[in-house]
């Protein structure tokens, strides 16, 4: 299957088929989720209406972590098998994941001010999420830090793989350290601990955010593939039109 997808033209064809339904479904799920989140769900008995921030915060945090894991898998594929599409996928995911990490930090901060009385606290979960964001930024900077774009692929993949070490720290920080941030309530031993009235909008938003992530990544992968093709066509054109500087200098096109 991975060999089958290795052909970029074939990938673009499949991506074209996939993109529209995924994008429409994502929009629909998020709209339904937002309706439940903003109108059809109760306010929290302690937090009041600020609890509604959670319906964006939790899916964003989820995708920030899951996006990094997906990026790490791509990095592994690129390092071990040099799969060309894995590099494209890694480059496509990094900014999207960074966006979700930033969204998590911003929404958490907006929630923290009324609830904890501070925009930011140096809590284990907040700090590890901030570090995750730094890793995303570092991967993006490294992937694009070289004169020849492809030269950054392997260093960026290696860094992404090293950064995977941070993921379990983000996930389990609330269990390992006694933190201000509340512990896990969806995936935990003992079952879900959220009331169904609040679970419904959360699940809609979660599903919607997942598909939104997929749609964005497909779109970015397509754009990156087209960008590469343009660059290689431009290079070829430049080589064909360039005249040798010295008549005696016999280059490949002389």
């Amino acid at each position: 299957m991975f060999d089958y997808l290795a052909n970029p033209t074939r990938f673009v064809r499949i991506a074209d088929v996939l993109f529209r339904p995924v994008a429409i479904l994502a929009t629909g799920l998020i709209l339904v989720g937002l309706y439940f989140a903003l109108f059809a769900s109760p306010a929290d008995y302690q937090q009041g209406d600020t609890v509604r921030i959670m319906y964006v915060h939790v899916p964003a945090a989820w995708l920030a972590v899951l996006g990094y894991v997906a990026m790490g898998v791509c990095a592994l594929f690129y390092i071990v098998w040099r799969h060309p599409l894995a590099d494209i996928a890694l480059r496509a995911m990094a900014p999207v994941g960074a966006l979700f990490a930033l969204l998590t930090l911003v929404t958490g901060s907006l929630w923290g001010k009324p609830m904890w009385g501070a925009w930011w606290v140096w809590d284990a979960r907040l700090t590890s999420m901030l570090i995750l964001f730094f890793f995303y930024v570092a991967v993006i900077a490294l992937a694009n830090g070289f004169d020849r774009a492809e030269r950054g692929s392997r260093p960026a993949a290696l860094l992404a793989l090293v950064g995977v070490l941070n993921v379990p720290i983000v996930k389990f920080s609330v269990d390992w350290w006694n933190t201000l941030h509340q512990p896990a309530s969806l995936i935990r031993s003992g079952g879900v601990s959220i009331d169904p009235s609040m679970l419904t909008p959360l699940l809609f938003m979660l599903a919607g955010f997942h598909l939104y992530f997929v749609a964005l990544v497909i779109l970015r992968m397509k754009a990156l593939l087209i960008e590469r093709r343009i660059t290689s066509l431009q290079l070829r054109q430049a080589r064909q039109t360039a005249k040798p500087v010295h008549p005696t200098n016999t280059g490949p096109n002389a």
Binding site: I79, I131, F134, F135, V137, A138, A141, L142, G145, F146, D147, R148, R151, G152, R154, P155, L158, L159, L161, V162, G163, L165, N166
Partner: protein
């Protein structure tokens, strides 16, 4: 093993030939430390609780400052190609580079800490645990610097990019290092020191293969 020792000797010989550079890093460290009392204020009661964290930050920055050229000369003058052709595996070359670099930049810094600490009113009771924690911490940071320098070698902004890569990775070292420098009952083997040592072990396992893979790519690209 022989080639490994020779690689270290070569790096040390090169460092000795330009031994003034060692002094530059050391002076950089002293100047950073000097800046804190000037910025925070000279009162001993304010400085004393901050002394250990400030020394750690200063040590971090001065060690990082010496890293961006670590592999550049070897890539440029073809030494890395020779290593690739020799019996010395690339990951052993990376470890040799790290050892030599630590001897040149980490060790002098460590020797300077008891004296520089005086500037920040470090209590003499803290000194042994501080030096031991810094010993492990600078070794861990050297391995991180090796990762950063190899990944960024050949990049447009190699120096800045390296700092961007290394600092997030270095945060566990900083956190556990500062905690291990100030053990509660004055005993060396605090749990934080063990955690710091564990971080060093993890880095010892991942830094050589990661740096070797990155250097192989940089070498393929035709040098920096």
């Amino acid at each position: 093993m022989n080639a490994f020792i020779q690689q270290i000797q070569r790096d040390l010989a090169i460092a000795w030939a330009s031994r003034l550079d060692i002094g530059v890093i050391l002076l950089f460290f002293v100047i950073i430390v000097t800046m804190f009392p000037l910025a925070i204020g000279p009162q001993p009661e304010i400085l004393r609780p901050l002394a250990v964290p400030l020394l750690w930050i200063a040590a971090f920055l001065s060690i990082l400052a010496g890293f961006d050229r670590l592999f550049a000369a070897d890539l440029r003058d073809g030494w890395l190609d020779q290593v690739a052709l020799s019996k010395l595996p690339l990951f052993a070359y990376v470890i040799a580079k790290a050892v030599a670099h630590w001897l040149v930049s980490g060790l002098p810094l460590l020797l300077a800490v008891p004296i520089v600490g005086l500037l920040l009113q470090v209590e003499s009771a803290v000194l042994p645990s501080l030096v031991i924690a810094l010993l492990i911490g600078t070794a861990a940071l050297t391995l991180l610097g090796v990762i950063g320098a190899s990944l960024a070698s050949g990049a447009r902004q190699a120096g800045g990019l390296m700092a961007l890569l290394v600092l997030p990775l270095a945060l566990p070292v900083l956190i556990f290092g500062v905690l291990a420098s100030q053990p509660e009952a004055g005993s060396f083997m605090s749990p934080h020191l063990k955690l710091l040592a564990a971080v060093l072990m993890v880095l010892l396992a991942i830094a050589p293969p990661v740096a070797a893979a990155a250097l192989a790519e940089a070498d393929d690209d035709g040098g920096a």
